[in-house]
Symmetry: C2
Subunit: 334 residues, 2 copies
Amino acid sequence: MATIRDVARIAEVSIASVSRFINAPEKVRQKTREKIRTAMDQCGYRFNYAAKVLSTRRTQTIGLVIPTITNTVFAESTRGLQDEATLRGYQVLMVNADYDPAAEGRLIRHLLERQVDALVMTVSNPMGTIAGLADAINVPAVFLFSTLPDAPVSNVGINNERGGYDATAHLADLGHERIAMLAGRFVSSDRSRHRYEGYRRCLEERGLEHDPALVVETPFGLEHCREGVARLMDTPNPPTAIFASNDLMAIGAMGELRSFGLSVPQDISVVGFDDVTMASYVAPRLTTIRQPVYEMGRRAAQMAIGALSQNNGEPRRLILDHELVVRESTASLR
Amino acid sequence: MATIRDVARIAEVSIASVSRFINAPEKVRQKTREKIRTAMDQCGYRFNYAAKVLSTRRTQTIGLVIPTITNTVFAESTRGLQDEATLRGYQVLMVNADYDPAAEGRLIRHLLERQVDALVMTVSNPMGTIAGLADAINVPAVFLFSTLPDAPVSNVGINNERGGYDATAHLADLGHERIAMLAGRFVSSDRSRHRYEGYRRCLEERGLEHDPALVVETPFGLEHCREGVARLMDTPNPPTAIFASNDLMAIGAMGELRSFGLSVPQDISVVGFDDVTMASYVAPRLTTIRQPVYEMGRRAAQMAIGALSQNNGEPRRLILDHELVVRESTASLR
DNA sequence: ATGAAAGCGCTAACAG
DNA sequence: CTGTTAGCGCTTTCAT
């Protein structure tokens, strides 16, 4: 493999000039530029990124940890993050943990070894992660999707508790009293737990009974809804409405409900969370809580990169607005 | 940041021992191991990956280029790739090109600069990419999803032409004669073009008229189906069936069709391609051509890593079986 | 089992 | 505008 040394020798200049040519062509005379360019072509030079990193101790990349690659919310937020990062001259190195706390730790360590300049992550339990991160306190971190009351680390997202409340309230407003929650495992998502807390608060405020049989936790993912829905519906007194932790699960639930011979929303209402693009394409179109995910991704990148320049350690916290989007999957209780 | 030098000094051993401890602990005496371990904790040592790469000229990572992060087929194939890579001690560095040929070039170059050991990619035009890759011929490359008759580069996928044929034939078998194709832009996907070719061949073999008005190309992505479907349906003699390039577009089309007041499959049949998980959850459940995507990802990783060890330059080609999955979105022509 | 020493390919003063 | 030089943190012979 050719190095700048080879190029320099062929072009009959110094390696410093070659380096300048690569990083700031304007700093080298036109004539020299051409000599270098031809030399590069001649020996098939390829830049070695690792050498640069080693030398500068900067990677210009931000590490991103997401819980899964199969839920498109994370695709959307990643786009926002990526767009903003690109704009500012950063790359993003993405890894997914499959909702596995152990994997999260490994991956974060790995990203750190790769010298990412900053970390953006959506993890099972941010507070726990923070502890494990203590020694890496010198790389700016921001939690995405989770908003934490008083975490010592920056975070951006919506108020999930309120989101859960609003979803449930919508159902209650429609006259539903037996409202179930199909929840993604709390241990693998604090967002899910916060949404559940909002659900609980709403039931209480409305004076609705909280039947534990109406709350089922399942792993995240479309394919895990079957059993959850079955457990909910195979009871003497099934719910008339289901609030799902996210749109993926809501869509999964609607699919299962049909297998049970139930129509949404005639027989049972369903509300999701996220408002992924797919939500407005499925039949019936899904009522859901919209998170401004693209924007969230952008903001996360801004915060991460921002923290890099102004090195005051002040964690920032950004709570964006969510919004109930009423579509066709919810209806008044007959 | 602490380095192995710091660790060595504190532990009172040589840096070589520290390095050995990191890479092959069994090569260092128990006693020394412990000294090193405590020294590491004491100074908060963190491994520097870039230095290793620079020194070994190996990253143990395979670069992956995908066209988009929002279509879950690529999420599934990536999982397969990742699982296999992990198994063999490799990481994967994923980038997405948003179906933009220019971005593909940039990203591939970027991956190469990052010294990936091998490349797995799904690009707009593999043959074109190969040309641009000529100088990087020393890193093994494999194309994923595209299967190329006689490319000088390994590839794994299904026979897309036959897939397109089978999808169309299913529709023809149901009595449809005006079969449209909602195709992802050919310039951004050779898979889409190959599927189209299968569609054409089927029409010809069945003696069905090929009406150019029945083929619309749109950008990939759920949100781009509106105009395509409108163009198809706002005609004097609209199709009675639509074959979409992929499930995402098929689902998008079904959504739009409903806006037109049409029922699938009563008024119009729809068949997709890929069999993403979502396909069996939407209503009506989608008839589609299944690709073994997870397996494809695994095989791609195997081929890439395999090529690394046995350095005979022989490109390999692997064509897996696809399968028509008939569900609810297609029906006989009334 | 351990250590000394020579790089890996680039950047960044500094000097000219 | 260009060149010299000393690293960046790790691996890897080659000795011992």
